[in-house]
Amino acid sequence: MTTLPDSAYGSQANVSARREQRRQAPNPIMAIGRGFTWFAVLLCLAPMPLLLVVATTANWPLGFWAGGFTLGWLREGWATVHPYALFSLRLALTVLAIDLAVGLPAAWLIARHAFPGRQALLALINVPLAVPGIAIALALILAYPLARASGLLLIAGQVVYTLPFLVATLAPALAQPALIEREAVARTLGASAMQRLLYITLPAIRSALLAALILVFTLSMGEFNVSFFLFTPLNKTLPIELYSAYITNRVEVAAAITLIFLAFVVPAAIAIERLGGSKIGQA
């Protein structure tokens, strides 16, 4: 028997009761958790403001804003990287388009159909999660040595590497029983397959879809392990340029370029989390 409603009221009461109880008895595990959490957050976030300071300090090796505050490094950094930033942007959009064209039907299939080989298909898509990027890159070069100059391998490598994340985000959204039931209702109301996709399915999965698109975009923008072996002077991505800045350039310029890179990536990361992306990373 279904007892949906009485739980709604009950759980509300439970939550407030729980809060009361916690306020009265501080729990040592939670105290440790709080300490560790703030430590982890500090560790994760501290580099960001530091980056800002270094990138705007005239002569960092001498200390904070030694030689004064400057935007010169940022200007210089942008001048150095903007062609690569634009290339990365174009590459990310290409990867996104291919991922979507290939991954959406695959996610649909995995979410909606029980067919022999379903597990095998899922495993195949997830192979790149287990194969180090360097091995994927090497394999692509060995298989298609002539295609490297065209930049096709770069696209192929990134598509293969990002596809599992797209499918892992979309398939659970498509598999929701409530969505399937809504599609069935729409069907009894006379909606054709295309109408159901447009008016029911896509609106229902829009946040998962958006999260998947942003995720693929950020992964592609920041991809290094595969790209490092596949790039050519004409097809050079932003992270590759970042790396050469780390190896060869002044720390201030490196910081400035990193800051420019983060401006592309961090807002996207926050957006993913906002879209309920905490499940996404578990792909």
Partner: protein
């Protein structure tokens, strides 16, 4: 139905399966083109590669252990506290997920490099640079930890949120202290997730290249050796052999711990 699977099958067979098969064939080829296992044997026979393999395992295992120890309380706190900052904390801890390894390496340099903030502060206070360990094992360990934290937190948060509050409350009413609840109820319930988080962290650490490339000055790990074999000495077959070996190691860890996790769930 099969028409929906076609695009993905074509793409993956061309861009993944065929290349991996060719990589495998190359790894089994000797210099004269004969069939050989020498490229794999090098992992044991060559001191440099043996060292790199051991280093890879050492840093992966120690960073994973640290990440789990740090992130379990973090996950419990984020999922179960009523702090009004918990959402912000959760978001902050997912940001490193989208950072490439090289940027993480650079962060370590900014913090603990020769001109990093911590050594600079020590210079100001004590007149001497200290803790400038960015380019040592410890710097790499910190970098690895940095990219493992968000991954471990995500996996563990999922499991903590699935814990039954009733079970915990019942154990409290049966007389268990918070510590006993933690040890006897929460930890056993989370052990599959811990194994899962460990496998994800280890796999990521084995394949990590960017962080190592940015920070390594002498502490060589397997991906670095593969890269230099390929880009500097052009020993493609050996590079292929080591890549396949690294892949097998990663897959073995993912599967082994994944199976253990499934067993723990039952």
């Amino acid at each position: 139905m099969s028409s929906l699977a076609m695009p993905v099958l074509i793409l993956l067979s061309l861009a993944l399966i065929a290349p991996l098969v060719i990589l495998l064939r190359q790894s089994l080829t000797g210099e004269g083109g004969q069939l050989t296992l020498a490229n794999y044997a090098a992992l044991v026979t060559s001191p440099a590669y043996r060292r790199a393999l051991l280093n890879s395992v050492l840093i992966a295992v120690s960073s994973t252990a640290l990440a789990l120890a740090l992130c379990l309380p973090v996950a419990i706190y984020i999922e179960r506290s009523v702090s009004r900052y918990r959402n912000a904390l959760a978001v902050a801890l997912t940001i490193p997920l989208s950072l490439p390894g090289i940027v993480i390496g650079f962060f370590v340099i900014l913090l603990f490099g020769l001109t990093g903030i911590v050594p600079q502060i020590f210079l100001l206070i004590t007149g001497e640079r200290q803790f400038n360990f960015a380019y040592t094992f410890w710097g790499m360990l910190l970098g690895y930890l940095y990219f493992q934290i968000p991954r471990a937190v995500l996996v563990l948060r999922g499991a903590v949120s699935a814990l039954s509050q009733d079970v915990i409350d019942v154990s409290r009413t049966l007389g268990a202290t918070p510590w006993r609840v933690y040890l006897d109820v929460i930890l056993p319930a989370l052990s599959p997730a811990l194994l899962n988080a460990a496998s994800v962290s280890l796999a990521t650490a084995f394949g990590a290249f960017g962080t190592a490339a940015t920070l390594s000055r002498g502490f060589r790990v397997l991906p670095l050796e593969i890269a230099s074999l390929f880009t500097e000495s052009f020993q493609v077959e050996r590079a292929a052999g080591l890549s396949i070996a690294l892949t097998c190691l990663t897959v073995a860890v993912l599967f082994g711990l994944g199976r253990a996790g499934e067993r723990a769930q039952r």
